[in-house]
């Protein structure tokens, strides 16, 4: 009986391992192809260990398009967006949980409703509004139009609700201002929720495509997803350009893989609390 269980345990492990490896197969295949020669890919696409390493694919890709600029654009806009979203959302979530004011319930209802709606509905008017502000084709415009994130408000509000009232009252009676209470007591007490919001916000913003692709035109001003797609389109689906496209894609994807591998533990935890992307 014990033996049967052991065999079953191993079989399960191997099946899941195979499925897991299939899930990351596209990433592996991308990495492998990015250092192969065009001929090798065409003749032996299944070969997982390249016969010769062609790192010049990367130098060629970097020469053909400003990948580093794009990564930088994505990185700083994402950091600013996530930071600002957390900042604003913390304030609102604090008000929603700790203040009494007229329209509080209405406000929360609106936030809940917005939470489920497709952001695409807002694109055309947002585009016009940014146009009025002369912020089309500008990374500042991208940042500004992403400052609100209903998901983060919702997540933080749910988390802030669990802070015991007594702690806040004690702080008030100690003479702390609401601002101090929020940043020095409530936010540190909810660092898990804040971490969740940070990671999810980072992933969704860094990987975002549709809205930045509508907003940004100049090659120099692209974020990485948009730049990568236009790079892939301009190189064309020709066999000979294939390695350079894979090299470009690798440049775009690897930063996230690295972040994921380092922060894996937190990602798996935090995604559970995520639901709809902002």
């Amino acid at each position: 009986m014990k033996k049967v269980q052991k065999i079953q345990g191993w079989a399960l492990f191997i099946i899941l391992l195979i499925i897991g490896l299939l899930m990351v197969y596209p990433m592996i295949w991308m990495l492998v192809s990015s250092v192969k020669s065009a001929n090798e890919i065409l003749n032996q696409p299944l070969q997982l260990i390249p016969r010769s390493f062609h790192f010049d694919n990367f130098t060629n890709a970097l020469k053909a398009a400003p990948f580093m600029q794009w990564l930088w654009n994505s990185a700083w806009t994402t950091v600013v967006i996530v930071f600002m979203q957390l900042f604003f959302s913390s304030l609102i979530a604090y008000a929603l949980t700790q203040f009494k004011f007229m329209g509080r319930n209405v406000l929360f209802a609106i936030i809940l409703a917005t939470y489920m709606l497709p952001s695409a509905t807002t694109y055309i008017p947002s585009y016009v509004i940014l146009g009025k502000m002369h912020l089309i084709n500008s990374l500042i415009g991208l940042v500004i139009s992403n400052l609100a994130n209903v998901f983060v408000i919702f997540l933080l509000r749910q988390s802030f609700m669990s802070v015991p009232k007594g702690i806040i009252e004690a702080a008030r009676s100690d003479g702390a201002s609401e601002w101090t209470i929020l940043w020095q007591i409530v936010v540190p007490m909810n660092k898990n929720a804040v971490l969740n919001a940070t990671l999810i916000g980072f992933i969704t913003n860094f990987n975002g495509y549709l809205w930045p692709s509508l907003l940004l035109n100049d090659t120099k001003k692209q974020v990485i997803s948009v730049g990568l797609n236009s790079f892939s389109n301009t190189q064309g689906a020709f066999d000979q350009t294939f390695p350079i496209i894979m090299a470009g894609t690798t440049i775009a994807v690897v930063p996230l893989i690295i972040v994921y591998v380092i922060l894996q533990k937190y990602f798996v935890q935090s995604s559970k609390t995520s639901s709809i992307k902002g």
């Binding site: 899941l16 596209p26 304030l91 694109y123 055309i124 209903v150 549709l210």
Partner: protein, 290 residues
């Protein structure tokens, strides 16, 4: 006791932080609704009110009907496998005695990597001439579909990529829900003599049903808003066979600049989302017994 907020505090904590939400969410939603009753074309400074003409035209147009059908097809055949695979993977994961974390990390990786980049990779993997999938099918002497140029196959390419991206993510939720089931419930079922499939059918599935419902609605909304994989792999083609409602919205609004029709379509997508969200909330009320 909650504190009554002063004017200054309200300004700092509510009014200012709400500005971006109002400017880029609330106002655009209202403006969208308003634009959907006009014939604005983005370029000309003037426009006329056309009543519900945008909507009637939209509903009558073949493009819309097709896109609606494609969206329904795409959504159904993505969401069902995502849920089923996600559940099965979670059941497996929770039984796993070793390397749980490692395998979970593998399964979850597709959700983290950028879909644009990975769709480019998938495009080559599905390449009918040199892609590894058809190479393998070739070795196995199986039919080699023209993945990206045959209308049905193209839709399935999109579906497969969508499942790939989300199944591990769904598994994470399911495995969390499964882990929260008290082990004594399984012990009771042992004592009552349930076979393994009876346990799954009578105990596991009903107990994770709130999670299932949640994932179904989130995945439907995700599919309604799917864009990256379509724009990279098929651009809505061939012959419009992978044009979903959202993709049609993009084409109407940002390629053809028919802002009236596009906003009308976006309102339709919004209404569909709202209806689904409402149904899900109603259903989850009925299904939460604990």
């Amino acid at each position: 006791m909650e504190m009554k907020a002063s004017k200054r505090q309200l300004l700092l904590f509510v009014v200012i932080p709400l500005i971006p939400l109002v400017v880029f969410w609330i106002i655009p939603l209202i403006v969208s609704l308003w634009l959907s009753f006009t014939d604005w074309n983005y370029i000309s400074p003037t426009f006329d009110y056309v009543g519900i003409k945008n909507y009637t035209q939209l509903f009558a147009s073949q493009d819309f009907q097709q896109a609606f059908a494609h969206t329904a097809y795409f959504t159904f055949f993505s969401v069902v496998p995502i849920i089923v695979f996600g559940f099965l993977l979670a059941v497996g994961l929770n039984k796993l005695k070793r390397s749980y974390k490692f395998i979970q990390a593998l399964l979850f990786a597709p959700w983290v990597t950028p879909l644009i980049g990975m769709s480019i990779v998938w495009g080559w993997i599905f390449n009918s001439k040199v892609g590894p999938i058809n190479q393998i099918l070739h070795i196995l002497h199986l039919p080699e579909p023209q993945w990206l140029t045959n209308p049905t196959a193209a839709m399935w390419t999109i579906i497969i990529v969508t499942i790939w991206k989300n199944a591990g993510w769904a598994a994470l939720f399911f495995s969390d829900a499964l882990a929260k089931i008290p082990s004594s419930l399984f012990e009771v079922s042992d004592m009552e003599g349930l076979s393994w499939w009876q346990k799954i059918w009578y105990v596991l599935i009903p107990l994770v049903s709130p999670t299932t419902l949640f994932l179904v609605i989130v995945m439907i909304l995700e599919c309604l808003q799917a864009y990256d994989q379509i724009t990279v792999l098929t651009q809505g083609g061939p012959a419009g066979s992978t044009t979903t409602l959202l993709y049609l919205y993009y084409q109407l609004g940002f390629k053809q600049f028919q802002m009236g029709s596009a906003t009308a379509l976006s309102i339709v997508i919004l209404v569909i989302s709202a209806i689904l969200a409402y149904i899900s909330i109603r259903m989850s009320r009925k299904h939460t017994y604990y």
